[in-house]
């Protein structure tokens, strides 16, 4: 086998594939956390526009949701790379 065929026929190990998948999953978790922060901001904006009895509960829910999203990133890092 020539040197050229070795260079241009990449051999990707299955371990590398799973590493890429794990990294992608953690990245998805981070994107979800960013999305949850946008939800917090948007709920604050909307509850300032229309003030209802439910507004404090919605705000609390959005903050808890962002906290859970952050927890899931840590969970993913823990059991995917731990």
């Amino acid at each position: 086998m020539s040197l050229e065929s070795n260079v241009f026929s990449p051999v990707i190990s299955i371990g590398l594939v799973w590493f890429i998948v794990r990294t992608a999953l953690v990245m998805q978790g981070i994107l979800y956390f960013i999305c949850s922060l946008i939800v917090v901001r948007q709920i604050n904006l909307m509850t300032d526009t229309v003030i209802t009895e439910v507004a404090p509960y919605l705000r609390a829910f959005a903050i808890i949701h962002a906290g859970v999203a952050l927890g899931i990133i840590i969970l993913f890092i823990g059991f995917l790379f731990g």
Binding site: W18, L25, G29, V39, M46, T49, T52, A69, I72, F79
Partner: protein
């Protein structure tokens, strides 16, 4: 018929206020889209919730790919799937919850959360209202009594549409009554 989880019609609500409400202004009607408009996305949510179970069952019978994937990755994908379902539910519910049509004794306001990053608010004076039209269409609209209320305003003001609101005829009549109350008490043209 309405579900408490999807409250869509408030007549003279006492505990709801607009952020920039005037001192002598009070809300007469607050509307959201009828609860039935949530059925399509709720169906998607139901299918999304059962999808992992259906997929694992089908995989066990025909494809058999899951045993070849590391367990931690399968678990992470399942968690991520349900996170995305939660995001979908949140986005749809908030979109419904914050798309509000408000009729006060002075204004008609349409507050809309167009996406997670955008908000629009359209306000017209009641005295600028020229005509109010209702449109109930479709089997479910007739069955559950919801439809559109189209409010035509003076030429320089923007028209408003209340989409798929409960009891559109009642809403239209109420807007016309309020319009009559704020109508300037000028003299009539002499023929």
């Amino acid at each position: 018929m309405s579900f408490k989880i999807f409250p869509a019609f408030f007549d003279n609500p006492e505990n709801i206020k607009l952020g920039q409400q005037e001192a002598d202004e009070h809300i007469e009607i607050l509307l959201r889209q009828h609860w039935f408009t949530n059925v399509p996305w709720l169906t998607v949510v139901f299918l999304g919730i059962i999808f992992p179970f259906v997929f694992s069952t089908i995989d066990g019978i025909f494809i058999n790919i899951l045993p070849k994937v590391p367990g931690d990755i399968v678990m992470a994908v399942v968690i991520l799937w349900y996170m995305l379902m939660t995001a979908y539910i949140l986005e749809k519910y908030l979109y419904w919850y914050f798309n509000i049509y408000i009729v006060t004794n002075i204004h008609i306001t349409d507050v809309a959360m167009t996406s997670l990053l955008a908000k629009t608010s359209t306000e017209v004076l009641l005295e600028d209202v020229q005509s109010v039209k209702t449109k109930v269409s479709g089997v479910f609209g007739s069955l559950f009594n919801f439809g559109d209320v189209i409010i035509k305003t003076a030429a320089d003001a923007q028209d408003l549409s209340f989409i798929a609101v409960p009891s559109p005829d009642f809403v239209a009549e109420r807007i016309q009554d309020l319009r009559a109350l704020v109508e300037p008490q000028g003299g009539h043209d002499v023929p």
